[in-house]
C-alpha cells in the first residue's frame, strides 16, 4: 500500500512537470510590474483585450529586480513590452538601449504635472508615462505632537523632550544611514548632488556634498546623535515599527509608510519639513511611470495601451488608492487634493529636487551612505568625512 502511494505521488509529480509550459506568442502584450500594481494592470489589460482582442499578460517581478531582469531578458528577445519603473532609472536604461521614447501627443502631456513629465524626459524626448510622484515629508503623531514645530530647531527641542531611550520612546528619527531621507538636512544650507553643465545636463564631476551647506547638514546630524535624539541602527523597519506602535513622535517618511501607520491606528499628520536655519529644505522627488522596452515587438500596441488605457482618471485613481502616492495625472490629483496627506506631501514636493537619473548616481549613494553611517556611529567628524566621501566618489568616477 505504501509503495503504491509513493508511486502515485511520483507519477503525479512527473506529469505535472510537463503541464506547466507557457508559450509566448506574437501579438501579445507583456507587462512587468511589482505586486502592488500588478492586479490593477491586469484589470486594465482585460479591458484592452476586450477592445482589441490582444491578450495582455502581467508578470509580477520585485521592483528592485525589474532593471536587472530587463537587461538580461530584453536583448535576448524574452523581455516585456511595458515596464513599471522609477524615473531615476532613465539614464541607465537609455545608455543600455533598453527603453524607447513613448509616443504621446502634446495635448496629453499637458494633462500631467510638468515636474513629472520633465523627470521622465531625456534629451528632449519623453521616455515614460508618469503616474505618481513621491517625496518625503515630516510625518508626526498628532497625539504626541499636536502642532507642527515652526522651525527645525524647535522640532529638535520637542523631540528631545519626548525621547527616553531606555523606555524605548523616541521623539524624532531619520532612518539611517539613508541619504534619500537625510537629504533635507544637506539641501537646506545649499548642498546639492550634481551641478549643471551650461547646457542643462548634469555634470557628474561637480559634486556639492562637501560644500558649506552640506557640511552644516552633516554637523546637524552629528549633533542630533550627540543629543541622544538620533540613534544608530534606526533603519526603515525600526523607524516605522516604532511610529506605528506610538513609540515615535515624528519621522521623515514617504506616502508608502502611511498604510501601516493606519493599521496601527496612529493619528498622524503630514507636513513639509520645517525650515532649517531659516532655509526651507529641499527633498528628493521620485516619479513612477510606465516605459516601453526598446526590444518590444508590439510598440504600437504598447503605446496604444499607455495612451488610451492608462491615461484615464479611473485607472489613475486605482493606482493612487493602491500606492498612496500623489498622482502625476492632474485631473486625479485635483480629485484627491482634499486629502490632508496629499496636501502635506504636495507642500513638501513644492520644494522638490528631482532625483538625478544618471548612472553615476550609484557611486554617490554608497559613499554618502558610508559617511552617514560613520557620523551616526560617532566614528568620524562631519566635515572630514563628507570631504572623504566626495573624494571617493570622484576617484570612482575618474574625475580629473
Amino acid at each position: 500500500m505504501k509503495r503504491t502511494v509513493v508511486l502515485i505521488v511520483a507519477l503525479l509529480m512527473v506529469t505535472s512537470l510537463f503541464l506547466t509550459v507557457s508559450a509566448s506568442e506574437a501579438g501579445k502584450l507583456v507587462i512587468w510590474a511589482d505586486e502592488t500594481r500588478a492586479p490593477i494592470l491586469q484589470e486594465v489589460g482585460t479591458a484592452f483585450q476586450d477592445t482589441y482582442g490582444v491578450p495582455v499578460e502581467v508578470q509580477e517581478i520585485g521592483f528592485g529586480d525589474i532593471r536587472g531582469q530587463l537587461a538580461t531578458a530584453a536583448p535576448a528577445g524574452e523581455g516585456p513590452d511595458i515596464i513599471i519603473g522609477a524615473h531615476d532609472w532613465l539614464g541607465e536604461l537609455i545608455q543600455n538601449g533598453l527603453i524607447e521614447p513613448i509616443v504621446l501627443p502634446e495635448a496629453v502631456k499637458k494633462e500631467f504635472d510638468p515636474v513629472a513629465i520633465d523627470a521622465f524626459s531625456w534629451g528632449g524626448q519623453l521616455y515614460g508615462l508618469p503616474y505618481a510622484t513621491e517625496c518625503v515629508a515630516l510625518i508626526y503623531n498628532k497625539d504626541l505632537v499636536p502642532e507642527v514645530p515652526a522651525t527645525f530647531e524647535d522640532l529638535l527641542t520637542t523631540a528631545k523632550g519626548l525621547t527616553d531611550q531606555e523606555a524605548g520612546e523616541y521623539g524624532f528619527l531619520i532612518q539611517e544611514p539613508d541619504p534619500f531621507h537625510t537629504f533635507a538636512l544637506f539641501s537646506a544650507g545649499g548642498g546639492y548632488i550634481f551641478g549643471n553643465n551650461p547646457d542643462g545636463t548634469l555634470n557628474p564631476c561637480d559634486i556639492g556634498l562637501d560644500n558649506a551647506g552640506a557640511i552644516a547638514g552633516a554637523t546637524l546630524l552629528d549633533q542630533m546623535v550627540k543629543d541622544g535624539i538620533e540613534v544608530a541602527g534606526a533603519d526603515y523597519g525600526m523607524v516605522t515599527g516604532l511610529f506605528n506602535t506610538g513609540k515615535l513622535a515624528m519621522m521623515i517618511g514617504g506616502p508608502w509608510t502611511l498604510p501601516d501607520a493606519q493599521k496601527g491606528g496612529i493619528n498622524y499628520g503630514v507636513a513639509p519639513i520645517p525650515a532649517i536655519n531659516g532655509n526651507a529644505p529641499k527633498v528628493f522627488v521620485g516619479v513612477q511611470g510606465f516605459m516601453v522596452s526598446a526590444f518590444s515587438e508590439n510598440k504600437v500596441l504598447a503605446n496604444l495601451f499607455i495612451k488610451d488605457f492608462l491615461v484615464n482618471n479611473d485607472v489613475m485613481m486605482k493606482l493612487y488608492t493602491a500606492g498612496g502616492r500623489p498622482p502625476a495625472y492632474l485631473p486625479t490629483l485635483q480629485q484627491v487634493s482634499g486629502n490632508a496627506d496629499i496636501q502635506g506631501f504636495a507642500a513638501s514636493a513644492a520644494n522638490g529636487y528631482p532625483m538625478p537619473k544618471i548612472p553615476e548616481m550609484g557611486s554617490v549613494w554608497s559613499a554618502w551612505s558610508d559617511a552617514l553611517q560613520l557620523i551616526v556611529s560617532q566614528q568620524a567628524e562631519p566635515a572630514t568625512v563628507m570631504g572623504d566621501a566626495v573624494g571617493q566618489i570622484k576617484a570612482l568616477l575618474k574625475c580629473e
Binding site: 507557457s22 505586486e35 525600526m238 508608502w256
Partner: protein, 285 residues
C-alpha cells in the same frame, strides 16, 4: 561507543540539548511573532504583539494573485525530483571513483571539487542564454519551465556530494562485490544489489542535503522562472518583501514558517535511515 547513562549524566545531557534547541529555535519564535503581527514588522520588540492577527495566514491561501499553495507544491515537487536524480547521479559517479582505477581519477576528483568554488556572479546570464536556446529546440525544458530548472540544479549534483558518498563506499569492503561476482553477478548488478542497499545512510544524507539546497534556492530560480504560477516558494515569498518600500513581513513570515514544514517532515522520516547503520558489524575482515 556509548554506554548507559547515570541519572545525573542523563539530566545533564537533556539540559545541554535543550540549551541548543533554544539557540536553534529562538529566532524562529521571532518569525512566528512577525507572522501574527498586523503591522508588518520584523524588528518588533515584543514576542507577543499587542494585537494578534491570523490574517497573514489566511491571506496566504486565499489570494489568487499569490498562489502560495501552488508555490509550495512547486518547491516540493522540484526539490524531490532533483534530489532523487542527484542521489542517482552521485551514486553512479561515486561508485566509479571508489571502485575503478582509471587515468585522471585523482585529478578528476580534485577538479570536481575545485570547480564548485567559482563565484557564480555571472552564471545567471550564461545559464539564461543556455536555457533560452534549449527552449527554442525543446520548449518544455527551456526558460520558465520546471524541467529546465531541474536540469540546472543537476549541474551541481556532482560535487562534494560525490566525495561524501565515495568516502562511504570506500569503507564497504570489496569482498562483498567479489563474492557476488563469483556468483555470476555483473559489476552493475553488484552495485545495485549489494552496495546501494548497504549505503542507505549516505543515500539518505545526500537526499536530505540536496532537498533543502534546492528548496531554498532563490537566485537561479529568480532568473529562470517568470510566470507567477511557476514560482517556487522562495521566489514567491520574495515578492512580499521586494515591493518598493512597503515590505509585507507578516505574510512573508507566515509563508516561511509553513514552508519549513515539508523539510522537517522529510528529515524526521529520513533520520531513521541516516543513523540506521544497520549493516555495520556484519562484515568481518
Amino acid at each position: 561507543m556509548y554506554s548507559k547513562h547515570t541519572l545525573i549524566g542523563s539530566i545533564i545531557r537533556h539540559l545541554v540539548v535543550w540549551l541548543f534547541i533554544g539557540f536553534a529555535v529562538f529566532p524562529v519564535l521571532w518569525i512566528f511573532s512577525a507572522s501574527i503581527n498586523p503591522t508588518n514588522n520584523i524588528t518588533a520588540q515584543q514576542l507577543i504583539p499587542r494585537h494578534i492577527t491570523w490574517d497573514h495566514y489566511v491571506e496566504l491561501f486565499t489570494n489568487p494573485q499569490h498562489p502560495y499553495a501552488i508555490w509550495l507544491w512547486n518547491s516540493i515537487k522540484i526539490a524531490t525530483i532533483t534530489s532523487l536524480l542527484t542521489v542517482a547521479l552521485t551514486a553512479l559517479a561515486a561508485y566509479a571513483f571508489s571502485r575503478f582505477r582509471f587515468k585522471g581519477r585523482r585529478s578528476g576528483l580534485l577538479g570536481l571539487l575545485l570547480v564548485q568554488m567559482f563565484p557564480q556572479m555571472l552564471a545567471m546570464v550564461a545559464i539564461y542564454i543556455l536555457l533560452l536556446n534549449i527552449g527554442k529546440i525543446a520548449p518544455w525544458m527551456g526558460l520558465n519551465t520546471h524541467p529546465g530548472l531541474i536540469m540546472v540544479y543537476l549541474g551541481g549534483a556532482m560535487g562534494f556530494n560525490t566525495w561524501l558518498m565515495k568516502g562511504y563506499f570506500d569503507t564497504i569492503p570489496r569482498s562483498l562485490e567479489e563474492s557476488a561476482k563469483v556468483d555470476g553477478a555483473s559489476q552493475f548488478q553488484a552495485f545495485t544489489r549489494i552496495i546501494l542497499p548497504l549505503a542507505r545512510p549516505i543515500l539518505a544524507t545526500i537526499f536530505v542535503l540536496s532537498f533543502i539546497g534546492v528548496y531554498s534556492e532563490y537566485i537561479l530560480a529568480r532568473v529562470l522562472l517568470t510566470d507567477t504560477h511557476q514560482f517556487t516558494l522562495a521566489l514567491g515569498l520574495n515578492l512580499f518583501i521586494h515591493g518598493q518600500w512597503g515590505n509585507r513581513w507578516g505574510v512573508f513570515a507566515a509563508g516561511a514558517l509553513i514552508g519549513a514544514i515539508p523539510f522537517l517532515i522529510i528529515f524526521a522520516v529520513a533520520q531513521h535511515l541516516l543513523v540506521s547503520g544497520l549493516t555495520r558489524g556484519s562484515v568481518k575482515e
